[in-house]
Amino acid sequence: MSLATDLPHSEGRASGEAAKTPGTGAEKPAPRRRSRQRRERLFQWLFLVPAVVYMTLFFGYPVVKNVVMSFQEYTTSTFFTGEAPWVGFTNYVTVLQSSLFSTSLINTALFTIGSILGQFVIGLALAIFFQRKFPLNGILRSLLLLPWLLPLIVSSAVWRWILDKDSGALNRFLGDLGIIDTGIPWLTSTSLALIAVVGVNIWIGIPFNLTILYGGLQEIPDELYEAGSLDGATGWKAFRNITWPMLRPVVSVVLVLGVVYTLKVLDIILGLTNGGPANSTQTIATQSYNLSFHEFKFGEGAALGNVLVIISLVFAVLYLRASRRAVDE
């Protein structure tokens, strides 16, 4: 983001963001150098063109196309006949009125809130723990990154085996401890599956939260704690009055990024439960996938996808504000 603030001429909404910080740089060229400068400018743009083209084709086009599709009856036959009749808001009405919508909306909310809370609290606790100086700190901390680096579908497969009702490691562990007599159907019970999926997603998200929050903690100057301790601010008081306020910008970035990433999670849910049992882990993202790629109702899938985009956009705005604050401070 910081570069945007150096660009007084940048157009569009970004300039609104940038304008808040007065521009630096961009010296006025002497008149005779102006045509040379123009050629320079053209050349500089050529460096950007491939990226702009790519971003337009793989992000801009899909968003526009998705909006168009959401107003069409776009089905498998469209691929043969090329015809996709316009249906106005029918897809939206169908999708929003379906009984599954409220289920998947609630599941999305529970999945997102549960995941973020768990990841953040455990990630922050671990980040604070690793602030202490002890042998092997660096190595142990980076080994903790592994769950985050594994392909999501790999994690899903492993957890599916751990959470297996009959011979999964978790049930056997609980059984060996004498806590349970019969296996708990973690992934096959309608009341437990969502909790299990959230648990796995928390596990995946902890390393990311830990790393970013640890970085944020490193930037808080030691002097603040020393000064605080003179005033009697130690322990919980120091955390509340020094650590938390200083960490706030990083916290908001982590939380909003977490929300945006969690909203669109598909791999984990498809890998663990495929949205089941009986839609108990169906989210807006998985339902959109189902509509398009299982029921081949691409128009309805697009409409539901757009609902997800709108929800994400709300958080995107929050993210931009948060990241600007983080850079400014």
């Binding site: 570069l3 945007a4 150096d6 157009e11 569009g12 970004a14 963001e17 500089q44 460096f47 491939p50 990226a51 702009v52 971003m55 793989f58 992000f59 086009y61 899909p62 998705n66 599709m69 776009y74 691929f79 671990l126 604070i128 723990f129 602030q131 100086k133 901390r141 903790l144 769950p147 680096l149 594994l150 392909p151 579908i153 790999v154 497969a157 492993v158 085996w161 751990i162 009959d166 011979s167 490691a169 596990w203 990311f208 790393t211 970085g215 704690y225 322990g235 970035v253 990024l257 669109k264 498809l270 890998g271 495929n274 959109s288 996938y289 398009s292 790629f293 899938g301 994400s312 995107a316």
Partner: protein
């Protein structure tokens, strides 16, 4: 577990306030605690490796330790998934090449020139991170169908780069921002054109950020599941992530082969973690916050 984890904030802030005089014995206590946390967090990874080494079919339950390691799971996995692993490798390498080729010049332009509209490009990159993959896949499927790109390696390379390119631009740009402008100016004064200055000065100096971006781009493409799931419909082109999904989609009675495949599919992540420590740190912090 949460109660254990919640305790450190209090002690930590207190410890820090009393200064760095902590005894060595105390320090090793924290190491032990850290290893305990690590053991819990990495148990699934252990379980994956353990289960992959168990003889299949002989027992219903995986034993806690691979006392008698058995490699039939790996034999099956390699037999059935070698082609898919190869496909994943080609797609990932292709995605790295494409992403760096597109991202490096763009990052340079964004870091060095006061290009008109650069703010828009950066804004677009940030926004692109918010677009759900399913939306992209939905639209790409129809476009790919028309263009004949379904079930093709180039099609997947192009789609998978959607994870890598924005990320690579941010990482490389953040690095180039910190490069002294005088180096490039000196080259330009000596008569080097933009292309030469970029190719023989900027790129070599940016090596570390290119490696970081390349490693992550590789990992993104290697881990991709959604595009593999939606943009392939036959077995002609099948990345290993989809291979795993199909293993677990059916009723699984041979977990050792599934776990062996999972281990093989984890190799890039493990290599990245072990061999490229410093690059990871740069990637996680550079890409997310800065």
């Amino acid at each position: 577990m949460t109660t254990v984890l919640k305790a450190p904030p209090l002690r930590r802030a207190g410890g820090k306030a009393t200064g760095p005089k902590v005894t060595g014995r105390k320090n090793w206590g924290y190491t032990a605690l850290a290893i305990f946390f690590l053991a819990i967090m990495l148990f699934p990874v252990y379980w994956m490796v353990n289960a992959s080494l168990q003889p299949n079919g002989t027992t219903l339950e995986t034993s806690w330790f691979p006392v008698k390691p058995d490699f039939t799971g790996y034999a099956t996995a390699i037999n059935e998934q070698a082609g898919n692993l190869g496909t994943s490798l080609i797609i990932s390498l292709g995605s790295v090449a494409l992403s760096l080729a597109i991202a490096a010049p763009a990052a340079y332009a964004l870091a060095y020139f006061k290009v008109r509209g650069a703010g828009v490009v950066l804004f677009a990159i940030l926004i692109s991170q918010m677009i759900p993959g399913i939306v992209v896949a939905n639209a790409l499927y129809t476009a790919y169908n028309d263009l004949g790109l379904l079930n093709s390696i180039p099609g997947l390379i192009l789609a998978d780069s959607a994870h890598g390119i924005p990320f690579a631009i941010l990482i490389i740009r953040a690095f180039m921002n910190g490069m002294p402008a005088s180096v490039i100016e000196a080259a330009r004064v000596d008569g080097a054109g933009h292309l030469r200055a970029f190719w023989s000065i900027v790129l070599p100096l940016s090596r570390n950020s290119l490696i970081t971006a390349g490693l992550f781009t590789f990992l993104f493409a290697w881990s991709d599941f959604l595009f593999a799931l939606t943009l392939t419909t036959t077995e002609a082109v099948r990345p290993v992530t989809l291979g795993i999904f199909q293993y677990i989609g059916a009723y699984v009675n041979d977990w050792s082969s599934v776990m062996a495949t999972a281990v093989l599919a984890s190799i890039p992540a493990i290599v990245l973690l072990v061999a490229a420590q410093k690059y990871i740190a740069a990637g996680t912090t550079g890409g997310a916050v800065k």
